[in-house]
Symmetry: C2
Subunit: 555 residues, 2 copies
């Protein structure tokens, strides 16, 4: 019998290894851990979502045993509908905790993918999936029902931590299962793929339950309305806001689609408990005195269409902010969102509102463990090999340094990259040849490879604008039979406009005459010649390089 | 004799009042305080610089007595060439400290504005400029030669703090002139326009001279090359880097155009002292052992064309970074630059470099005073009226709160906005009607109002791409005489391309037939009809709104 070959292949994450999706292969059987998405950066003009490139899986559909999801955040499950649409199948079962699967089902429903089997896992149970045995281990994170994923197989045990922190006092009283991690460590972990998000922070993360009393303390100093914003999926945070409101005899209104949806899912699964009569509808807010109301809203990241952003721009139909309102940001900006958050905050000040952020009081706790927690994970699981996950190069390096510090030999620590499989077999562990990886942009209503080319074009259009030149020529003679049309958009001209257009027209005529002399009659060739000649002329005149689009019409 | 009327009109600054330019008018005579620019945000695609809108001044050129510049930073003097070009004059004298004027002259030279009179001021001297008496008061900031501007006039004394901190141990041993501020306060200050940048930070800012010993301590732990990045204009910081290098027997190479230029100006004016033999040329770096070299580079903000960014992207011809190099960020990211800085840092980690930032050691001190310093300024100058400057709505509000806290009556505190003049006359102080204000975008080689429209077009192009449709019609009949050309760029299509183009062609023909029936023959009208019809058709098919550009050619 030949030795089995295990490959762990991180495939998702813009600049962060293994953040959104990882493919685990034993010989030719596949389990996928997480299928998440990313939100675009400001430079990705007009792009709505960023997905992992699924092409590696397109010829392997029949080899895929299952997808396992660690927790319900968008960057770990948001691309589930997209992978199924891309692979044109609903025949891959999805495993995950009950809340995670409730969120997955809701997402799949929106895409009308109603035939997908979503299997609620129970922590500690074992699930045989092809040649893999799956076990989920309870972890704590900024969403309930987060799990580490253990995949036992003939080549060794792989442990994905997922996103986690070792919160000793989580809001639901159910800390991460350190005992089980220790047992699995004793059994033997071949490879640990661990979260690196906060590895650059020294010490131990703040417990989620620290936020509650501070929220209540902040609320107790407010005379007017209170609007709290936090991540909609942070169900325990919403619980703490509700508890603080209840303690101060305030009603609670939930605003924002995802806030209502997640709270409903959380309620139905027992993760959140709203005392009787505390919840009011957004339309009822004005029926209560200001000091009796807490609004919980989406928009903590300054997202353009979020409820809080709309309130700040006086564009929300249910909440009109006013002097005396206090807006509490119970979240910190994700790197890259600082400007959008600052803009929102400043609008709120302009309206005369008071704004409380995490700088004013400890009203937020990160969901990712700090350096000491990463070390504890390494010491509990005692892995033979370590491949740090969820981090940029800096964090991967720092995680590797911590692994060495707790005694993992440097040769057993693998700093990976997306698309590069780590192979484990009888000869040990090593990286093997890269496979196709990257991202796919989703733009508006649909996705596709065209979006990539379109994005390149749009960057060019955005940078320098466009020149359209229409030349009308005679089919018989190739001569110009009408004045060339010259139109530009997005090009600021520093020279006389009329003169520039005249020069371009002359340039078109000159190019056409030269082309006729050279015996060029093919329309594509003519357009190509015009493009090059005009681009050179425009650069000479304007010192800029707009897109030049020549159109030759034969009549 | 009628009572003189004083107006203080902040005109520059994107979302920050009075940051870049302020117009001071006594009756009809004008002094301008600072003429700075801003750098574009990521959303301003293809824009190079953002200037104050100078239109208010265009009819008032003969009324302008002078420009006074508080210090040499780009956001306070960077638009000097642009205002002079806009107003088509070199006949406005410019006042400022010697370093500030050296920087101004260098900038004006680049724009070939060599006839402008730049007058080096001396702190404490009085300059009669039309109906104003100017006095500069020595302040400390993150560039030498920063001054507060006192404008005495018949309607009262106005004091602009400029950017400042009360550094008790500045690197040149010359603290802000608190005694003179106190004297001026005793004489009587009618209006204080004070810096609010760090008003949200409690306490007192760190002294610049704290950075030096920490830089040396960081350097002493490095075995390889050290590359330090800081603002090129922070001449005292460069001095401290040089001192730390000297203490550890390392040579210093300066990299980046502005780093060399500012250090040269600083040397010629005695603000920086490079020990003999310490400076080496960039091309000589490789001739010295790694542990004997410190490189001082631009790029602390992750600027795309800066030396450090190029090094991080293996694109710098003189410095090839390698494992063992330590890169020291002796600056913090300006809000909005976080992503660019993070990207640079991560590239450095990818190359195996060590990166030290202000999170690792106190190797940077802000140039702006904190809340206690703002209170000290208020107490020293005892102004009748206060108009907080240099801040967004949040900081303006916080500055106003501090002014109230030290005893300024709320009615005497004016929360202004750009374009809104504060008028002071016999009847006290009040805001009067807004004037034209805003920003002008500089795009590539030149500026102009077109850039504004071009920016709007480019945003649209960037968001959804462009459709160009060329219809060729007979001059006689108005009928289509060639198949319409349909071309698109930057539009990802989710439907069959051929079919979409056919439908658009049919749409063009239908619109033309309808227009002919309706008796429309005017080309502009035809294009307008085509635009509306096609935009509707495209939206129906693609659910997106690219720019639609119809071209009708008559033959």
């Amino acid at each position: 019998m030949s030795t089995p070959t295990l490959r762990v292949l991180p495939l998702g994450g813009l600049g962060e290894i293994g953040k959104n999706m990882t493919v685990v292969e034993l010989d030719d059987r596949i389990i996928i851990v997480d299928v998440g998405l990313r939100f675009p950066t400001a430079e990705m003009v007009g792009i709505d979502l960023v997905l992992p490139d699924f092409s590696y899986l397109r010829d392997r559909i029949d080899d895929i045993e299952a997808i396992v999801v660690t927790h319900g955040h968008e960057d770990h499950l948001g691309a589930l509908p997209w992978i199924l649409r891309d692979l044109k199948t609903q025949d891959i079962p999805i495993y995950g905790g009950p809340l995670t699967m409730a969120m997955a089902r809701s997402k799949l429903d929106e895409h009308r993918l109603r035939d997908v089997e979503c299997i609620d896992t129970k922590d500690g149970e074992r699930y045989q999936i092809g040649p893999f045995e799956l076990e989920m281990v309870h972890m704590t994170h900024s969403i309930p029902d987060a799990s580490a994923v253990v995949l036992r197989n003939a080549a060794g045990t792989v442990l994905f931590t997922g996103d986690y922190k070792f919160d000793q006092t989580p809001v639901d009283g159910n800390p991460a299962d350190i005992a089980r991690l220790a047992e699995i460590g004793k059994e033997g972990v071949t490879l640990l793929c661990g979260d690196s998000t906060n590895v650059d922070r020294a010490g131990w993360s703040l417990s989620e339950s620290v936020a509650g009393p501070h929220l209540e303390e902040v609320f107790s100093r407010c005379d007017g309305r209170i609007i709290v914003t936090c991540f909609a999926s942070n169900i325990h945070r919403v619980q703490q806001v509700v508890d603080a409101a209840a303690a101060l005899n305030r009603k609670v209104a939930l605003i924002g689609r995802s806030m209502k949806k997640n709270t409903n899912i959380g309620k139905s699964l027992g993760h959140i408990d709203l005392p009787d009569g505390i919840q009011i509808q957004p339309r009822e807010i004005d029926q209560f005195p200001d000091h009796k109301v807490v609004v919980v809203s989406t928009g903590s990241q300054g997202e353009p269409l979020s409820a809080l952003r709309r309130m700040a721009y006086k564009d929300h139909h249910q909440v009109q902010l006013k002097k005396g309102d206090t807006i509490v940001f119970s979240a910190t900006p994700i790197p890259g969102n600082e400007r959008a958050v600052n803009e929102t905050v400043d609008r709120l000040y302009e309206m005369g509102c008071t704004v409380i952020t995490t700088k004013d009081a400890p009203i937020h706790a990160s969901g990712h463990g700090y350096a000491e927690e990463v070390k504890l994970m390494l010491n509990l699981t005692k892995p033979t090999y370590v491949m740090p996950f969820h981090g940029d190069h800096k964090r991967i390096q720092m995680h590797a340094d911590l692994a060495e510090a707790v005694g993992v030999p440097a040769a057993n620590i693998f700093k990976g990259e997306n698309g590069k499989p780590l192979q484990i077999d009888g000869k040990g562990a090593r990286f093997v040849d890269k496979v196709q990886s990257g991202v796919i942009y989703v733009d508006g209503v649909d996705l596709g490879e065209e979006a990539d080319a379109a994005l390149r074009d749009r960057r060019m259009l955005a940078g320098d604008g466009i020149f359209v030149v229409v030349a009308t020529i005679s089919e018989q003679t190739g001569e110009s039979v009408a004045d060339p049309e010259v139109i530009f958009r997005g090009v600021p001209y520093s020279v006389d406009e009329e003169q520039l257009i005249d020069e371009i027209r002359d340039g078109v005529d000159a190019s056409l005459i030269q082309a006729a002399k050279d015996g060029v009659h093919d329309l594509d060739a003519l357009q190509s010649i015009l493009h090059d000649d005009l681009a050179a002329l425009v650069f000479k005149k304007l010192k800029r390089r707009p897109m030049v689009m020549p159109v030759v019409v034969e009549v």
